[in-house]
Each structure stands twice: as structure tokens, then as C-alpha cells.
Symmetry: C2
Subunit: 283 residues, 2 copies
């Protein structure tokens, strides 16, 4: 497995910018290049020392890369993959950071097949701040990264992905794209949607009575709306299935409240309490 000495990041948003910063802090000192569509973003990358090299020229950005990391919105990735393809050296490692994997896999795997070592990655990092201005070198520190190989993925490519993320203190999990999308629909996309719906259901005159619980529960609803709309729509069948499960749980709780069924309500809360206590406290 070749060392990834020269790494190019496409798209300096929160994740791309944080990734460039984190790579710049490694003792192995890889060469880090950032490509951005807008020259203003290139300027910001350079003046804020996000990366030592930045350009709007795609061929210059990827021509010497050992690894290319796609950090743009999902919708842009297929066109970007086709645009970089002629400029990649054979065998370049390519991954991404998208939150929905099956559509990205379906679009990108055929483009890179026979040309680059492609595998999907989903780092469970981010937060309610979006954009390069929120980038920080520790965003990936102790983050979980879900890798989504398929039967067509060579073992060396998976090993290279594990090595790439592990050097950044991430913990790697592996599953196939469809299983990934079903799991994150439940554990990430549904929670985001519910946080937004909770805020929309609260009357403005109740907001002053908020306590710390409400602020925690709704933190992720401050995330960027366009990005989350894209994620929810790209993964909509799995999100709808998760919403169905949630509706069943809600209907059961509503019935328990209506009929003042204390035992049933206690069972509902107690099961959740038990599961939540098996997980870590918030960081």
C-alpha cells in the first residue's frame, strides 16, 4: 500500500477545511492541496493557513495527488468526479465525506472503475456550524468514520481508507452502502428532522421558558438547511421508514397518556433510559 504523501481536498467547507487543518498537523507532514470553485474561497484557505496550497484549477489540484477527498455537497460529486478523472494518476486513492452512501456509490463507482481506487467514507463529524469559517483541526478527533466498501472494492483500497482516517484519530466502522443509509437514517437524519420539527412545534411565547434540556435536544437543528434538505431527500426512503418506526412509538405513547396508563408510560421511558445509559454522555 503506497503512502499517501500528497493529498488534495475538493471543497473547503466545514469538513474539507477541518480535514486540511488536521492533515497539516500530522507529524508525517503530507502535502495538502485544496481546490475550491470560487477564488474567494482559495484566498480564505491561504490567508487563514487552512492549507499551504490552494487553487481553482482542477487539473493542477489533482494531477500530482496520491489521494483525493471529495468534500463538496453530494449533488456536485458526479460532475466533479467526471471532471477530475482525466487528470488523476492511475491508482489514485479517492474517497468522499457524504452523509448518504448508496446514491454516491452508484454514481461514482462506475466513473472511477479501472482508473482510481474509490471507496465511500462518512465521517460522523460536523456540527451546527457550517462553512470554512467554522473549520477546526480537531473536528475529526475521536470521530467515527463509516467506510462503505462493496464486493467490487479491492481489500487494499479498504485498508488505505482505514489507514487514512485512523491517522487522524478516527475510529473506522465498515458496512455496505445500503445498510449505512438505513442506519444513519435512524441515528442521524431522523434525529435532525425531529429536532427541527420540535422547534417548529413550540409556540414562540414558550421559548423564554427553555432549560438546558431543550438547548441540547435542538442543537443540531441549527445545522445548514440546504445541506440537510439534500441529505434527507437523497436518503428519503430510509428516512421515511425511520419516521414510520418513530410514528409507531409516538402512537403508543399518546395512547398511554390518553388512557393514563402509568405502567405503559413507565415502560416506554424506562426502556429509553436503559438504552441511553448504555451510551456515552455528550462530549
Amino acid at each position: 500500500m503506497a503512502d499517501l504523501r500528497s493529498i488534495t481536498i475538493l471543497g473547503p467547507g466545514l469538513l474539507g477545511g477541518s480535514l486540511a487543518l488536521a492533515l497539516g498537523h500530522l507529524s508525517s507532514r503530507p502535502s495538502v492541496t485544496v481546490w475550491a470553485r470560487r477564488s474567494e474561497a482559495v484566498d480564505e484557505v491561504l490567508t487563514r493557513h487552512i492549507a499551504p496550497l490552494a487553487t481553482t484549477d482542477l487539473s493542477a489540484a489533482v494531477g500530482n495527488a496520491d489521494a483525493v477527498i471529495l468534500c463538496t455537497p453530494m449533488g456536485v460529486m458526479p460532475d466533479l468526479a467526471r471532471a477530475i478523472l482525466p487528470h488523476l494518476r492511475p491508482g489514485t486513492f479517492v474517497t468522499d465525506i457524504a452523509s448518504v452512501k448508496a446514491p454516491v456509490e452508484a454514481a461514482l463507482a462506475p466513473i472511477f472503475l479501472g482508473h482510481a481506487r474509490w471507496i465511500g467514507s462518512h465521517p460522523m463529524a460536523g456540527g451546527e456550524q457550517a462553512g470554512l469559517h467554522a473549520a477546526r483541526p480537531d473536528l475529526f478527533h475521536h470521530a467515527r468514520v463509516i467506510l462503505t466498501p462493496t464486493p467490487a472494492t479491492p481489500p487494499e483500497t479498504l485498508a488505505q481508507a482505514k489507514s487514512f482516517w485512523t491517522q487522524l484519530d478516527c475510529t473506522c466502522l465498515t458496512t455496505d452502502p445500503a445498510t449505512h443509509d438505513r442506519a444513519v437514517a435512524q441515528i442521524s437524519h431522523l434525529p435532525h428532522l425531529l429536532a427541527a420539527l420540535l422547534i417548529n412545534a413550540v409556540q414562540p411565547d414558550a421559548l423564554p421558558f427553555r432549560g438546558p434540556g431543550f438547548l441540547d435536544t435542538t442543537r443540531i437543528a441549527a445545522g445548514p438547511a440546504p445541506m440537510w434538505a439534500e441529505i434527507l431527500l437523497e436518503n428519503r426512503s430510509a428516512v421515511l421508514a425511520a419516521l414510520d418506526q418513530f410514528q409507531l412509538a409516538t402512537d403508543r405513547a399518546r395512547a398511554a397518556l390518553l388512557h393514563q396508563n402509568e405502567k405503559e408510560l413507565h415502560d416506554i421511558l424506562s426502556n429509553a433510559n436503559h438504552v441511553r445509559r448504555s451510551l456515552p454522555a455528550p462530549v
Copy 2:
């Protein structure tokens, strides 16, 4: 308005214990007494220096008190109020910490009328840890306390309540018991229920894919099930109304997902984003 020099706390749970600790840290050095039903709890209060005085004897606990704070579960409060009544000095300030105010007001106000200066309080503090072992002196630091006077509450009693909580660095808000219960149903009780339902809707095999968002969103579901079952049932009509509002918001989001209505979904997320950004980040 008389100074509250001698303060008795009934019930050393998380809130009662933390209140005793916070009062003990005041430069004004009030005399703090804790009453507990069980002698083991009295022992723990004394050995852990939660308060210098502790007893299972109710008449001894309240007989010299300038102020009595009811910190037991709500269901116990009416019997406890009747039990302390003969031992209170005339004009003793009495308040509580219950999360639902209309039923407590309805039960306690008639008991204390003409004997003690009663007013309901709801400190928005707590957390997923319950019990005396989790008590800490800074639990009330910068907490919001909702005071719920009625037309029968003398202005001096309200002023005394404000003075009591303000000395602990709390911020006081004032509203009537019914408005309080409608507001906290939306801003506290519904969020707690939803956090529990979200956990119950997630399949166990999706849990390993959790990120920081899921941990924040569900933190409060680790709260004590019996206490939350009591709160939800005591406030069930307001909680059911809040759940209805939430259902309308959910139905709208489901339709937007089903019909791939990106604009509608964007509007939903964007409204929530706007409101959430007007509130503070989690502490």
C-alpha cells in the same frame, strides 16, 4: 420582607440536595436543615456535608424555619403540606420545585391559605442524573426559575420568592400556573418524551453508527423514568396538545419527503434553523 435566615428543605434528591449545597455556599450563611423520610438519606446528607442539620422528624425540621422548600416528588406534596402545617410558624415562606404547577397550586394553596406565604416555583435545572449522589452546588447557577403566583398571591410573597432564587444566581420569570404548564409541556415535557421515543424507534444495530448529534439529542432520555412518568401524567392535557402540534409538523415534513418537495423541506429546516440560532448554544 423578613430575611430568610433559617431554611428547611424537604426531600434531599438531586434538586433538594443541590439547593442545600448552594445555600451553604452563600456568604449570608443561612441555617440549612434537610428533612428526609428515610434515616439512610439523613445519614448521607450529614456524612456528605450536604447540610449541617438533617432529620427524619418533620416537626423539628420545620418548627423554626423562615422558609420551607418542598423538593419531594409531586405526588407526595399534598400529604407533606398537611403534615407540616401544624408545625409552621405563622407567615413562613413556602415554595416547591415541581415541574407541573397547576395541580400543585390547586392542592397546596388551600392548605397554606391564612397560615403560610405559599408560592409555586419551578427551577429549570436538573439533568439526567437523579438522586442525592448527583447533587452539586452549582446546579442552580444561571438557571431560570419560573414563579407562578396567582391573583391570591400577596406581592410580598412573590418578592420573597424572587429574592430567594436570585441570591442563588437564578433568573426569575413569572407567569400563572396554567400558562406555565402549557409552556413547559412544549419546551420541556414534549422534548423529553420525544428523546425517549427516538431512542425506542432506533434499531439496536444502528446504535454503533451514532455521532455527537444523537448523543446530545437524546441526553435527557437518561433522566429518571418514574419522575418523568409522573410529570407527563400530571401535565398530560398540555403534553397531548403539544404532541398534536408536533404531529402537524411531522405530517407536513412527511408529505414534503414523500413528494420530494425540496422547497417545502427547505422551509421547514430553515425556519427551525432561524429559531434555534436565536437561542444560546448548549452550555
